[in-house]
């Protein structure tokens, strides 16, 4: 069965410092993995996706994630946080053999202080 575990419910960083949001996944087949961001009172926006091409995936707004099959991880990073990065982040898995449903983690709230 597919599942996603976001290891931190809340991460706090200072503006200009690196961001690391951790995600482990479980999937019985070759998965597609995504990171979505949700700003207050707004819809979900796709940051980046891994679909079996390059293991290091670059997304929008300077975010990137690395797919590590041996560790079943897909951590999200950004070299330098900006105040506008404060939001809820969701790690998402889709087992392409099991169906089309996206399986979401519980989310990580990122706070950025000045």
């Amino acid at each position: 069965a597919q599942s996603v575990t976001q290891l931190d419910s809340h991460v706090s960083v200072s503006e200009g410092t690196p961001v690391l949001l951790r995600c482990n996944y479980s999937s019985s087949y070759s998965p597609s993995l995504f990171w979505y961001v949700q700003h207050p009172n707004k819809g979900l926006q796709l940051l980046l996706k891994y679909t079996s091409a390059a293991t290091l995936v670059k997304g929008i707004n300077g975010f990137e994630a690395e797919f590590k099959k041996s560790e079943t991880s897909f951590h999200l990073t950004k070299p330098s946080a900006h105040m506008s990065d404060a939001a809820e982040y969701f790690c998402v898995v889709r087992d392409n053999q099991a169906g089309t449903a996206l399986i979401f983690g519980k989310g990580t709230t990122l706070s950025v202080s000045s």
Partner: protein
């Protein structure tokens, strides 16, 4: 180009009532999926429709139903509302079945409050 649109934006109902939520996908997209996001949780898959046929169903009771119209818009219906149905209901569209490389694009959601 217009993104995924949902209506209404907010809704208040009482227990036992029925509700209909609407979604218009991005132009050219043939698939619509519905998700429920309870406060403080990640979204949970409810249904997927593709070419007007149900292609996937999550673990939700039969009180939840949906349909897709010839123009690919969709309705989500919930009967006999319970307090626990209070949530943000999200609609997502994709060009096809949303497998492999295909991305699902989400609308802003309908916030339902059941009193």
């Amino acid at each position: 180009d217009a993104g995924v649109t949902q209506s209404p934006t907010h809704l208040i109902k009482t227990r036992g009532q029925h509700v209909t939520l609407r979604c218009s996908p991005i132009s050219g997209h043939k698939s619509v999926s519905w998700y429920q996001q309870v406060l403080g949780q990640g979204p949970q898959f409810i249904f997927q429709y593709y070419e007007k046929e149900e292609r996937g169903r999550g673990n939700f009771p039969d009180r939840f139903s949906a349909r897709q119209f010839p123009n690919y818009s969709s309705e989500l219906n919930v009967n006999a509302l319970l307090l626990g149905d209070s949530a943000l209901y999200l609609c997502a569209s994709s060009p096809g079945l949303a497998l492999y490389q295909e991305t699902q694009y989400f609308g802003p959601g309908t916030r339902l409050l059941v009193l």
